[in-house]
């Protein structure tokens, strides 16, 4: 326990005795947001403060509510993929893949192993990209801007890989229902191998800058903690839950897309504070690199798409020559394909936890009901409880370490 923490606790105790004596009128109301440099996203917190100590927080969200669930009821299935991009836009491929897997579960398609391994590589790259943002922003909020500047360059390298695969940087619309739209070409393999060769050095440098840095640790150890039981009660998933000590990872519990073939560890923390969340994300980046290496080494041969002609666009040569392919092409683009009726729930491990898709289909061209189980929306409820009794600067760090992405919060 460092000196500063002890002083913090003393002040907190002193203030709480004061609080017991003071009345409501003595508190300051401080408005944090919705536009604020340190809340990375637009959400508002009205803080009731007793000096520097936060007594309570009232949250307002919905400043970027774009009605995804209503839009999905009016779009054919393949047009929902660009919507899922914009949920957790820091790791959009994971959202895309999750949606495709949900529809594939509904129609009962079986995806070839090669496509599954390619999906795993893309999803783990997206996870690394998401964790880069979160950890560098934690650093930037404590004043350590160097980590942010150095590590964002590696996001550009990941963007390069995405561009080779699908043509877009951020909102990728990667993959198709039934597999991927094209095979990985040699450039993709070259870029991934270069990334795996060069990123460990940069990650080690970033770790050396921050992980055992005295000032950084003093700022974030024992800040914004939550216990495992409370985290489970609040529906936490993902790195935030694992930092509190519960090893729930959808990739292990309900494996999808051949994750059971890979060997990787699930890092868990002990106290659920900001430092543990930072460490869990660091370790997850190392584990993701291991998974990508294993997928590259064991990449199976075969097709990169399933045999689902009602959903997967036929090859262009066939469309020009074969009547059947032409008809499939027309039906898919016009959205006139038959979908079985039913309801399916599928979840993937997103950058922030269990990203679930609840799809109810009535056989029509669009979903009857599509609900996104968004991890940010569910665990952000616990924020007032996590910051009660801490100082304003600690509240800012807690929020950045929870990785609340506004797109996923409001959908």
């Amino acid at each position: 326990m460092s000196n500063i923490t002890e002083i913090n606790n003393e002040i907190a105790e002193h203030h709480s005795t004061l609080a017991n004596q003071s009345t409501d009128e003595d508190y300051t109301i401080l408005n944090l947001g919705p536009t604020h440099p340190a809340t990375h996203g637009i959400f508002q917190n009205i803080l009731k403060m007793d000096g520097e100590i936060i007594k309570d927080a009232e949250q307002t969200i919905g400043y970027i509510h774009r009605a995804f669930e209503k839009i999905a009821e009016h779009r054919p299935f393949y047009q929902v993929t660009p919507l899922t991009d914009r949920l957790n836009y820091c790791s959009s491929p994971i959202n895309n893949m999750g949606w495709h897997m949900t529809v594939e579960k509904l129609i009962g398609a079986s995806i070839p192993k090669r496509a599954q391994y390619m999906r795993v590589i893309i999803m783990e790259l997206a996870r690394i990209a998401d964790h880069i943002i979160c950890n560098t922003i934690i650093g930037a909020d404590t004043g350590a801007l160097t980590g942010f500047t150095y590590m964002f360059q590696w996001r550009e390298k990941i963007y390069d890989i995405y561009e080779q695969i699908c043509g877009a940087r951020l909102t990728t619309n990667i993959g198709r229902i039934g597999g991927l739209e094209r095979d990985f070409n040699d450039e993709v393999y070259k870029k991934i191998k270069e990334f795996l060769r060069d990123f460990p050095k940069a990650l080690t440098e970033f770790t050396a800058l921050l992980e055992r840095n005295r000032i950084f640790m003093d700022r974030i150890v024992n800040v914004g903690g939550i216990s495992g039981e409370r985290a489970l009660a609040y529906g936490f998933t993902g790195p935030n839950l694992r930092a509190a000590g519960i090893d729930y990872d959808v990739r292990v519990m309900n494996p999808y897309s051949s994750y059971e073939d890979f060997e990787f560890a699930i890092p868990i923390g002990t106290s659920g504070d900001t430092y543990d969340r930072f460490r869990v994300r660091q370790e997850e980046m190392w584990e993701s690199m291991k998974i990508i290496q294993q997928a590259l080494d064991n990449m199976p041969h075969g097709k990169y798409f399933a045999d689902v002609p009602e959903f997967y666009l036929p090859q262009k040569e066939d469309v020009y020559t074969s009547m059947e392919s032409l008809i499939w092409h027309f039906k898919i683009v016009m959205g006139e394909t038959d979908v079985p009726k039913g309801e399916v729930y599928h979840s993937v491990e997103g950058g922030n936890g269990e990203l679930g898709f609840y799809l109810v289909s009535d056989g029509g061209r669009s979903a009857y009901r599509l609900h996104f189980r968004r991890p940010c929306f569910i665990y952000y409820q616990a924020y007032p409880e996590m910051i009660k009794g801490s100082m304003l600067s600690d509240a800012i760090l807690t929020m950045s370490s929870m990785n609340v992405i506004a797109g996923e919060l409001d959908a």
């Binding site: 919705p34 536009t35 604020h36 440099p37 996203g41 637009i42 919905g62 400043y63 970027i64 509510h65 774009r66 009605a67 209503k70 839009i71 660009p82 919507l83 991009d85 914009r86 836009y89 820091c90 943002i133 500047t149 964002f152 360059q153 996001r155 550009e156 963007y159 940087r169 951020l170 909102t171 506004a406 797109g407 409001d410």
Partner: protein, 181 residues
């Protein structure tokens, strides 16, 4: 020795030993254009592309936007990046009103320009419904090069703007059409 650092071209004027005479408009325009301080009003995905633009690969700071300001009083350009929902509209207007003249607005991305792919009941279909916009940068999200192009267009606007434009009746009429005094 050759260098790839370009010095800004001096405006047309009369030069002599120890003095340079030109019109105030041009001097002020030159100073303003090369020191635009942006206010990043980043709401969603375009905000991440804006962060990439400020990063070292694309580096918006070369264009004079070294110091991003989150306080409207100290900013020149309002960069609206991302979807603006109807709930956020009044907040955006309030931030715009607090900016001091001269101020420019860049709408980055399809959502800020026109509502983008979100033609729904809850999304404002373009920020030009509530504030006057100078430059629209299309894209979903636009590449950092496009964002830099947008900033360069504002630089052009700032360089050639007359110093009395902000007090002119046409400008006041423009603001009045948005309900801004």
């Amino acid at each position: 020795m050759s260098t790839n650092i370009n010095i800004v071209q001096a405006p047309a004027g009369v030069e002599g030993p120890g003095f340079f005479a030109t019109s105030i408009d041009k001097m002020v325009g030159l100073a303003r254009a090369n020191s635009l301080w942006p206010l990043p009003f980043a709401t969603s995905c375009c905000g991440i592309e804006f962060m990439a633009t400020m990063g070292s690969n694309y580096d918006l700071a070369r264009f004079g936007s070294e110091r991003i300001s989150f306080s409207p009083r100290q900013a020149d350009v309002l960069l609206v990046a991302g979807t603006i929902a109807k709930k956020m509209g009044p907040v955006l207007k309030q931030v715009y009103l607090q900016m001091a003249e001269p101020r420019w607005v860049i709408a980055i991305g399809a959502c800020a320009s026109s509502g983008g792919i979100f033609d729904t009941y809850s999304v404002l279909q373009g920020i030009d419904k509530i504030i006057p916009v100078d430059v629209y940068v299309p894209g979903c999200p636009p590449r950092p090069e496009q964002i830099i192009d947008g900033v360069m267009k504002v630089q052009e606007l700032a360089k050639h703007e007359s110093t009395t434009r902000r007090n002119s009746p046409e400008y006041k009429e423009l603001l009045a059409s948005y309900g801004i005094e």
